[in-house]
Symmetry: C2
């Protein structure tokens, strides 16, 4: 079911009004709503796929790249996967109502800090229909209303998905205005969403570095930034050879297109001769092109010369930058300069190096002797992931449902006044 | 000691560099630094008071109001109070290093979420020299560097205080660049501070609603918003008469100029005849002017008619707005419309009303049967207060030292790779 609201602002105000009631729903209510949404997506599969086909046709005629077409495309198995992701989110524990602090003042006032929904969660993202369903399900499961602004290439697909989800709310007697899209207002929709301070409580951009930068710069609504990952692994003087090889290969090859894949390997000079040849050979055997500095190139064949730009590049491909560093200080200085503060790992057998690395590296996740691919809400046991925050305010690292809640202090008194 | 850096950006970069080392200091180190700062402020009292006298002279010649002159003025007891506040902050527990979450993945990767300093804390505030010292001490105690931008009317005073504090750092062998002011760059200082995303990690504006609104709108650095308080007390149908009278009078009169003072009292119609006359009489006896709707005026003498603007006004004075509401729903609707989401309290003997109020009011602190004046970091047991956040991201309500920290995930592995 579609909305009758005719402006982005009116839609957002309706979401805010609906949020009051969504925020008071019980765990069971919210679980039931998500299961109903999953069923509604399954039931609407035909409509959704037809809408998606219209988007794809328009995309082809407008020259949309085949990569973007693939991200946009929904077929029957992909629609079923959307519904199934919603069912998984339905089964997560309710983040609302958790008691985060309790104290009694000297006057006997009982204070309780509890987790409460934000209210209205906004998201601006690219033409990935899975984000439409994902963010709506995560927001509702944590008691929030949601305002969505997806890429215009997915306009019809998102419209069909939102219509199905709103229908599920209405069928269960829940205000469907809790799910809103402003896709049909084009750039104005995004602009008004970024200016909706006081109506929208938090904005989560999802997509390219460029999109996130735009939202961070232009939004007066508080933003949770999920950033790119120029991720480093340091091979320390004492690094185990097998761990070095297996972890670097896993961190690069297992899924090269994601933000927790490694981009740069820094090798301690005292270990270079021992570690560089086997690690590079293993990478090359897995199809990786190594962009290497002179010291690495002197120990290997088949690498390409690294250029300055490589150190700041998130390759998102089977490319990896590698250089030799003088010592741990030099490695830390390189990381300070080029890291995007997502994830860094050190391979070492030296507890002093390990603890220094953990203390001094200023990233969301800092690892010892493990693959950077573990920076992931699922791996951390959150069950679902809102994104990986690379900023420091409110949330840092993999974000689960809890990160879509705020807090409130409840104070229960018996007539206390302040002296 | 003053800095040699000649641009706001250069100063902020030096603060960022210093922050790395400040962030690694031990609890004892930080405590010692604060005690040294307190001593340095005491020792510099003559210089500070002389600088303050120059600011005051300039202020008088430029027509600064007597209220603002009073806020700006430092005499010997006030300087001693600044030093003493720093000594109190020195004795607070270190918020850094707290373990906030621990988990082990199925692969045996040990995850620990710890509190870490933000890095660089910025503050933009008005011509109140106490904020200069307060924010610097709170930032350093929580392991952060600080960049300060106070009101230009306090330029010389802030300069003398910053020089004294930097000197104390240098004397203890700590990089003095951890404390920076950009006051001497005028508006450019504030502008560059608001654009220093990536250098400054969080910005805390302190002052008028206008100042905070400007920072929130213009800053690309994440902002923790501390807002105004249009604070409500609801007198429910079953409210105890003595509690109603004592709590309303305390919440208005004990310190009318602060954000947790009550501004509006809403009285349940069924209790109006019983409660309005004694509560208004007690307020009037304490010198309060009651801005009343017709229903309240019909039950009282000596009130003034409330106008629409009163309901949205933070009086900051011995003025209070009062109206009769039909029921709890009506009270909640009034609060939704006019509250600034700071603090609201209900006086009631009915558990159902109390719990509904606690659940449905969307404010940082929601109270039952207590004075709104308790919304305060000191009263909550935080020992010192960074401010009271009226936003929902990162921190809500009174903020202590913990709210000047971010988090980091540490992952300790033994060669784990992702399957």
């Amino acid at each position: 079911m579609t909305t009758t609201a005719t402006s982005p602002r009116e839609r957002m105000l309706r979401a805010k009004d609906a949020a009051r009631r969504i925020g008071l729903l019980s765990d069971d209510d919210k679980r039931g709503i998500l299961l109903a949404i999953a069923d509604a997506i399954d039931a609407a599969a035909g409509d959704v796929i037809a809408a998606n086909e219209r988007d794809l046709e328009r995309g082809r005629s407008e020259g949309l790249s085949s990569g973007l077409q693939d991200r946009l495309r929904l077929d029957a198995p992909r629609v079923a996967a959307l519904a199934s992701a919603v069912r998984e989110i339905a089964e997560l524990p309710d983040p609302v109502g958790r008691v985060l602090d309790e104290r009694v003042t000297p006057d006997g006032l009982r204070l309780t800090k509890v987790a409460v929904p934000f209210g209205v969660v906004g998201s601006i993202y690219e033409a990935r229909p899975n984000v439409t369903v994902d963010i709506a399900a995560l927001a509702l499961r944590s008691g929030n209303a949601v305002v969505l602004r997806g890429g215009s290439a997915a306009l019809e697909t998102n419209g069909a998905l939102v219509t199905a989800m709103r229908g599920a709310l209405a069928d269960r007697g829940v205000d469907p205005e809790a799910i809103q899209t402003v896709d049909d207002f084009g750039r104005d929709g995004a602009r008004e969403l970024m200016r909706a301070r006081g109506i929208v409580d938090v904005l989560v951009p999802r997509g390219s570095a460029q999109l996130i930068e735009t939202v961070v710069t232009e939004s007066s609504v508080p933003v949770i930034e999920t950033g790119a990952g120029v991720v480093h692994i340091v091979l320390d003087e004492t690094a185990d050879e097998a761990w070095s090889r297996d972890i670097v290969v896993n961190a690069k090859v297992q899924r090269p297109s994601v933000c927790n894949a490694v981009e740069t390997v820094l090798v301690h000079r005292a270990a270079a001769e021992r570690l560089v040849p086997p690690v590079v050979a293993a990478l090359q055997a897995a199809g990786v092109t190594v962009h290497a500095d002179d010291a690495v190139r002197a120990l290997t064949t088949g690498t390409v010369p690294a250029v300055e730009g490589d150190w700041a590049t998130e390759h998102m491909s089977l490319d990896l930058s590698m250089r030799v560093v003088d010592d741990l200080d030099d490695a830390l200085a390189h990381i300070r300069r080029y890291s995007t503060h997502h994830t860094e790992s050190i391979i070492t057998d030296d507890d002093g190096s390990a603890e220094r690395f953990l203390a001094e590296v200023d990233s969301a996740v800092v690892m010892v002797n493990a693959s950077t691919r573990f920076t992931d809400g699922g791996e951390f046991g959150f069950g679902a992931e809102v994104g990986i925050s690379t900023q420091k305010l409110h949330a840092r690292g993999p974000m689960g449902l809890s990160e879509l809640t705020s807090t409130k202090w409840l104070a229960r008194g018996t007539g206390q006044v302040r002296a």
